[in-house]
């Protein structure tokens, strides 16, 4: 493991009513690391992802970002969130704003970057996610794949320390999955710290430094993608892989 853990979860527990969705989660993610979280539906992997910027609160345990515990609320929490990018399954672009405005909103309103500078940077990011020709359009005029690439650009515009991807390709038509994964693969190879909840095993093999396998609210297994996919150590992981890799 690298020396500087950027994100640390210590003994994190969370319940949804009776349901124990996160059980004693311990996870440490180093700067520059790409961690892919996989597991069956309902295993708690999305919830885990959402606790890291406190879109979900936790019942017990600690979450540290860059050595600092997550603030409970208010401005301190808002400031922390500006350091943590998030890409959602359902894109969640601001529907009343153009693509360009979606990307400049965070930098101008949260980081107080001058409008002209933010716009210049937005164009660079749009180029990076290969979508410059759509800049003046509204989200509803874009395909799912295009929307998700804009969402990635919106997250990048904040210069985050880490980006959380919560099933970024699950709501996409099959032919649009690749264009989003390509952008994510580029990011990974450029050294962005990423925590990715996904069902895309190809992406996990190709881009991940580490695979975290979750089931029933627990981290069951952690390994390099090669080791995990070729020789999973637990029965639960073998069972999961046999189900998804045979279809």
């Amino acid at each position: 493991m690298a020396a500087t853990p950027l994100v640390v979860l210590e003994n994190v527990n969370k319940h949804f009513g009776e349901l124990h969705v996160l059980r004693d989660i311990n996870l440490s993610v180093a700067a520059g690391e790409v961690v892919v979280v996989i597991g069956p539906s309902g295993s708690g992997k999305s919830t885990l992802c959402r606790t890291i910027n406190r879109l979900e609160t936790i019942d017990s345990g600690r979450i540290l970002l860059d050595g600092q515990p997550l603030p409970a609320e208010g401005r301190a929490l808002a400031r922390l969130r500006s350091d943590v990018g998030m890409v959602f399954q359902s894109f969640n672009l601001f529907s009343h704003k153009t693509v360009l405005e979606n990307i400049t909103l965070g930098p101008t309103k949260v980081l107080k970057v001058p409008k002209a500078e933010a716009t210049l940077r937005a164009w660079e990011l749009l180029e990076r996610v290969r979508i410059t020709e759509q800049a003046k359009k509204y989200p509803a005029q874009l395909s799912g794949g295009q929307q998700q690439r804009v969402a990635i650009a919106r997250a990048l515009a904040m210069n985050p320390k880490v980006i959380l991807f919560d099933e970024p390709t699950s709501a996409l038509d099959p032919e649009m999955v690749q264009e989003v994964l390509d952008v994510m693969t580029d990011l990974a190879s450029e050294g962005m710290t990423m925590i990715v909840v996904t069902h895309e095993m190809g992406f996990a093999r190709r881009a991940a430094d580490r695979v975290v396998f979750m089931a029933d609210g627990q981290i069951v297994e952690e390994n390099t993608p090669d080791e995990f996919f070729t020789s999973p150590r637990t029965e639960r992981a073998r069972d999961f892989l046999s189900k998804i890799l045979t279809h």
């Binding site: 808002a78 969130r81 969640n92 601001f94 009343h96 309103k109």
Partner: protein, 224 residues
């Protein structure tokens, strides 16, 4: 109809008060309505409580009572005055009463609009690091407003008609319906044509509002 047109100055004067009541009350109702809505969805329990109690109390009180409270209660009994001239003093009290009342309906419309905004919009705003107020001001309210333009049009039409209460509830603003009644009382205008004339006057105000707002609501609709 001739007698009606002979008194057209009074008719126009009446409707000019109606329009003034409407414009000021609409402005203040809107501002207060937005504030009440922001309080209603805020994370602070006290603000939520105050807003809820206010809206539920005033919305469920008859407008006549609200205006009587302003006119007889605050203005006459307590002697609170808002202007040196009587006409403007009662006018401003009427505006306060109408705004206090109408803001509840603005707030309820807006709140129903907020409920139609997908949760993901607020989550994305929070995830970017926007504060609660920023996400409300920049993301949630602008989208909610666009979805409730139609209902807000109905609230405005109701407000235009409700200005007629301002003359009966102890305030005696010389608005259109008051002028009409005075014209009857003084026997200077035959009843039926005068009625028709004033009714048309109100339609001239309300119908365009309805059309304007449904046009706006189509134009401003947010595609998802």
């Amino acid at each position: 109809m001739e007698a009606f047109f002979d008194n057209i100055d009074r008719v126009i004067d009446g409707f000019s008060w109606t329009v003034r009541l409407t414009l000021f009350s609409a402005l203040f109702s809107f501002l207060l309505g937005v504030l009440l809505t922001a309080m209603r969805v805020s994370p602070v329990a006290l603000l939520r409580g105050v807003s809820t109690v206010y809206v539920e109390t005033v919305r469920n009180s008859p407008l006549t009572l609200v205006l009587l409270f302003c006119g007889l209660g605050l203005n006459s009994a307590l002697g609170l005055s808002l202007s040196g001239t009587v006409a403007w003093d009662v006018f401003w009290w009427a505006v306060i009463g109408l705004s206090a009342y109408t803001s509840c309906f603005v707030s309820e419309s807006l709140r129903s609009g907020i409920n139609t905004i997908p949760l993901g919009q607020a989550e994305a705003a929070r995830a970017l690091g926007l504060t609660f107020t920023q996400s409300l001001r920049l993301i949630i309210i602008p989208q909610a407003l666009r979805t409730v333009i139609g209902p807000l049009g109905s609230v405005l039409i109701a407000l235009i008609k409700n200005t007629t209460v301002a003359s009966v509830a102890g305030l005696g603003v010389q608005e259109a319906s008051r002028q009409m009644k005075l014209m009857f009382d003084q026997g200077i205008a035959p009843v039926l044509p005068t009625f028709v004339g004033f009714a048309i006057g109100f339609l001239v105000l309300t119908l365009p509002v309805g059309y304007l707002f449904s046009w706006l609501s189509k134009r401003m609709a947010v595609a998802r």
